[in-house]
Symmetry: D2
């Protein structure tokens, strides 16, 4: 597979990691999941992200999951692997392993201890040094990491480190950040901006200059359509589609709980065999499942009205 | 005005504090705002909340705003006043002042330093002791305060302190919290649960047993209708209405930025004279205003389709 | 009293706020405390700091305390007043009041929400704008505020804002920060650097280029002697004195608990009438008092050996 | 080696991890370090703690270090291994590996996301379930983890989970916590309490009922003597010894910087070959080294006076 570049666009779906109810990895579901994501129009996949329960896997499990997914993808789309870790030795080890397996690049979130502009820039300088020629995605997700990167800091990283090819934009609010980064003179070279936050601001993000999404709503087809319609300048249709999915997207975007909702929905759609999360991670209550079921029923009804 | 009780229900709108562009309080807009909120069906008002820019006011300004609003309300609905402060002396002073002016009760958020269950319970025990007979609203808003209260802790506070009559429920995710608090045996006496988060989960919150909302979307009529339709068991219509407003509600719920969007919308609707925030607080960019305008246009179109 | 300038040096003692056991301000003890601090050689006082329980006072109480202290000081040394508050209106009101009473300047800590370099610089730019000609002390205390200011950020503030005359240096570790700020070319104008952290690193701080201390150990004479001996190049004697007081200084520097220990010691020395803290703030246990008593006994013995 | 039990006492030194200047593990220095720690009187060792730069090691490096240290120790004292990790799979894998190698038990710090009492208890219940029969040390270090455990929560964990045999007590302030835990009726079975914080409160901790220390000052002989003298009721001599080392202990206890100071001192004493930290981790400046040198010279002089 060719390497990730600044030309990345479309929808890189953040893949879940399927588990059996007893906590073992459900490696068979990986195949069905890959097929599903590609059929819905994903232009890339991102595995072992925060929503991939990456920190709950051992290094050998991580490699197994990546290997299986890469094999099934078979080079049809680029696969990015999350390698965030407390130390550079761990980042290095996992990066070597997954690049050897055929990954297109890696994604690195900042450790929560970073505060000042210089600390953040220095950290990513060391990351780039560790990664060598491997292209990487800069993950900007303050709600979870606690690290706030100003547009100026992102620009310093992008301008200084040529292997930083993509920003996973996940600040909230973050629309102005896209506009500032896209303003004349801010970035000295191209940068792919793919947005997160479960697609909850995707229409506005596209309007501000994003290249697509890198996130994980259980109906990736919504994101694929919105990105596609924006590229065709059909904003009205894009927003109609978006609005139809919004009640569920909003529900799935509840911190912590959201992944269980996403897995429940994916299992309901037949994509993965079980909606299990590995511990820690409680199952959904009956009540929550009923709420999801009802949101999906309404969503289907609304989508029919739109066709 | 009679005191706030555990029977509080409906929609307590979190009032904004109107400013002139130069930062002075726009006291005239207070009247128009009160009229607007009551006309839309608010069953109560909450002033000097976080979204009321309370920390930016001096104590004498706070009293001026409360006095004007209470005068205009004229006892038609109960008015709750936010009195959160770093020290009990400040809480005490402001509480005495606003209760003398005719407030129905006060609201207290926890200081960010609280961590353990006992620390939280002890804090509210001291709050209740400071307030004496004044009824208070317990504000549970972890995203902003950083304080996480388990249902057990809330139950201890409610069961131990009879003047705690209402929970401003604003955890995210928070639906299970409502279910747990409403479960048999958890609370030993009635408690009003009014929900926040800009109404973004209002249908599900009502379904879980909430009594209404205490939050501040620029279209309070949405919340009034949703609460009303739920009380009439017309859930489908409630969700239709909710869904129509959701794209804007989602947009207004962006942390930090949301208040500027809310004020812009209220000014656009003619409720307040200016959309100014007091410093610190940047004005919206042209781009953001255009996004809001478009969301409102689509919202109006969708509402027409529903009628 | 003349205004605070970049020439501030020596020991600005952070004054406690004395209370009666029932929580009322003990205004009489203020006089005795002022006399004590000046007799021990303080070159300035700082009132309403974090260790002055400032957030527990109402605005009128704050003014009463400042007025009484300023009257007793009678212009003999400059008095700095802490005016940190969530909003500029509050900062402005308290600043006007205390400057009218004769304060020499004010001190402002950053609100905990600040993260990026630009956010911090913008905040202090607005502070300086609010204060007008009033000279101010920049308080850099990450352990408590959560705000990390790099030397570069401090330099930007100092170089841009001529009314920022003094840094209350309280980072931990913070010695390199002094060295970097004192390096050629970093600051474009003079700056007084007075150190905090209870004097726990005072010898090394003086060696790095600090001008003295602005903190509140119950034996200010230690800090006065250390600063004085350093200015006379008698480092050995300075460190001998420092070491003799270190066991108690270390004990007093326990977060949260430290102020109670300081007040107990000051009451034991006859400086203030009671060791009471205003709520919230628990009294010391018997055991802790006994530990303090024993540390003081050993300290006195050691000081005798040194003479 | 027999398993760690509630009878653990004395000084469990937190071992550093020695590196070559190029970042490779300096496996030869491990032997000399083990010899040194045991010669100074350590009754146990704790490896891969926070101060052992554990998060910077890959899993295979971690196992190599533990294997080498265990081999050199040769069963003379129990060795505890830090296994804190974001997920249970990682904890499980490392635990199995090090117990097979001959470790006496493991140590687990809580993840920073834990807030409420129940969350903390649930986490350790899952930890104990994951560990099976392996005895573990509960690490209570709020300054670094951000997790605050009340004595009540610690008691719940200890009383419910028989494999929790030891508390690494590192709260600050934390003396009252020891007293409360040692109070009649609080704990229903024995618990070893070993204290951290670089030994900075060791005399008072012993006086409150601690069983010793589990921390890492570069002069472990200080801690060994203090614990020993306390057990012989010679408090005066214990405090004399403590006071002599306090200036350096205080200097070594600077967050972040402390480990570099400790390694510099250990290298200076000939214990490890290099004072290198693995990235990220800056070397000491010349100035800091000079400060340490001077503190050591003064310490040696003072110790001579005491003999």
């Amino acid at each position: 597979m060719s390497a990730l570049t600044t030309a990345a666009r479309g929808v890189f779906v953040i893949a879940v990691t399927p588990f059996h109810p007893d906590g073992r990895i459900d490696i068979e579901s990986c195949d069905r999941m890959v097929d599903f994501y590609l059929e819905t129009g994903a232009t890339g996949l991102t595995v072992l992200g925060m929503m991939g329960e990456a920190p709950k896997l051992t290094i050998s499990e991580s490699c197994d999951v990546v290997a299986r997914i890469l094999k099934r993808v078979g080079g049809r789309v680029p696969v990015v692997v999350g390698v965030s870790a407390p130390g550079f030795a761990q980042i290095d080890t996992l990066t070597r392993a997954v690049m050897d397996l055929g990954a297109a690049g890696v994604m690195v979130a900042p450790p929560g201890s970073l505060r000042t502009d210089d600390q953040i820039v220095n950290y990513y300088t060391q990351v780039a040094d560790t990664l060598g020629e491997v292209p990487f995605v800069l993950q900007d997700f303050p709600l979870v990491t606690g690290v706030q990167m100003s547009p100026k800091v992102i620009a310093r990283i992008v301008n200084d480190l040529p292997t930083c090819v993509c920003l996973k934009h996940e600040d909230w609010p973050g629309l102005e950040k896209i506009s500032v980064l896209r303003a004349e003179g801010m970035l000295k070279r191209p940068l792919s901006i793919l947005c997160g936050n479960g697609g909850l601001f995707l229409p506005e993000e596209m309007g501000r200059g994003a290249d697509g999404a890198m996130t994980g709503f259980a109906y990736p087809e919504m994101m694929v359509q919105v990105v596609d319609l924006y590229s065709k300048d059909d904003m009205t249709r894009a927003q109609d589609i978006f609005d139809a999915y919004l009640p569920l997207a909003r529900f799935e975007q509840q911190p912590g709980l959201g992944l269980a909702i996403r897995k429940y929905t994916l299992a309901r759609r037949g994509v993965i065999a079980h909606d299990s999360l590995r511990r820690p991670g409680a199952p959904l209550t009956e009540r929550t499942r009923a709420e999801v079921d009802q949101l999906i029923a309404r969503q289907e009804k609304r989508l029919k009205e739109l066709n």
